[in-house]
Symmetry: C2
Subunit: 214 residues, 2 copies
DNA sequence: CAAACTTACTGAACACTGTTCATTTTGTCA
DNA sequence: TGACAAAATGAACAGTGTTCAGTAAGTTTG
């Protein structure tokens, strides 16, 4: 017979393996869902379509996710990781205002280059339901805090005036408005081939006019 | 036998009545769809649900609309009419900048007071598909032109600097961003009971900082 | 007025969707 | 190998948009 300690170790080992296998299955599902989103659009992510992709039956997916919304929420979280990495690249810009300018450009670029991810992060209903249910949104808050920091620096340096929270919401809404109106096909006044320069131009015109002093 | 003229008159009379009846049926469908949207949310608008509401079979609806998207598009057009009426109320404000300020407030108010209509106008995919297919968006352009006029006045009066088209896209994106982030539950940093004042405040802080000279 | 024609409408059928759950298969341990 | 537990299945339920052969109602003509 095993000692109490050895038995414990074995049980914990099994538990860990099970846990690992569970995570691997979740990853399999999320990868498949992500693949479908990128190649066919996020609205084509269906349980049956994922099941087909990973060669499991539809019912199996429900052993790892409570419902479709949870899959979309997890996908949204992964998208935020990717976005956050991109966002961090502005860190090495010294001048706060120049940093803010680039910050917005990076945001718009991410939205235009990763429309399906952007939809999941900021437009699609499903992740919003989870956010509301959980009464928190760590993913969104983390990138919002990063923006706030930048805005705080701008206020401290005299580039901007006003409450940092309010200014951050305003700046975020500006870039989100630009990207989301385009993604949802409400930028009919701009020919498709000019969208990118026009969005950058609109953002920069706004942010430059916004600059105080100097 | 009838004279050629009398015969023509009769035929045209019938054609008109048929046309009228067709319009009435369309109105019946759109009213039902609008009712469902307001009471249960736009995503609950289904052909079967509308059919039940108007006491016709689902198939009948397809004799008056080519598909569900067309119903949502027509609903979106009706919403724009309502919005345009509200938008016009800022016309009597003399000072261009004061007008612009109020313009934005009216926009935000409309979005918060009519979330389902706002979704259809600026967020939901379906009307966007029609916009893209038709290569035009009269409804959106009309209200955009009205905003542009206001911005032009602001530029002429020295309140704003820059290209009118670009400035208009920027201002529109700002207010759309504020409203749509909230409607899609991405304003987690703001407690629900403060949403209205915070959105107004964010908008006004932005627009006031934006003001040139003075 | 009745027959012929036209228009309006129906509802079953097709191919989808998310989700549940009794049943079966697979894996583990004594 | 037998007993138990865990994992996976796939049929079933209630929905969705859309089509179309068939029926019912309305209109025109002989």
């Amino acid at each position: 017979m095993f000692s109490k300690f050895a038995l414990f170790t074995i049980i914990m080992g099994i538990r860990q393996r099970k846990e690992r296998e569970k995570e691997e299955m979740k990853k399999l599902v999320l990868d498949a869902a992500g693949k479908i989103a990128v190649s066919e659009g996020f609205e084509k992510i269906s349980i049956r379509r994922i099941a087909e992709e990973i060669e499991y039956s539809p019912g199996t997916i429900y052993l790892y996710f409570k419902n479709r919304d949870e899959i979309l929420f997890d996908l949204h979280s992964l998208a935020f990781q990717k976005f956050y990495d991109m966002q961090l690249t502005v860190s090495n810009i010294k001048d706060p205002f120049e940093k803010l300018r680039e910050h917005g450009r990076v945001y718009i670029t991410f939205g235009l280059d990763n429309p399906e991810l952007y939809e999941l992060m900021f437009i699609v209903q499903a992740p919003g339901n989870e956010i509301e249910a959980n009464q928190e949104w760590n993913e969104g808050m983390k990138t919002f805090e990063f923006l706030k920091q930048n805005i705080q620096e701008c206020v401290d340096a005299g580039y901007l005036r006003g409450d940092v929270n309010v200014l951050s919401i305003g700046m975020w809404s500006l870039v989100h408005g630009l990207v989301s109106l385009f993604l949802r096909k409400r930028m009919a006044m701009v020919p498709k081939e000019y969208i990118r320069p026009v969005l950058y131009n609109a953002y920069e015109t706004m942010v430059d006019n916004f600059r105080q002093g100097k």
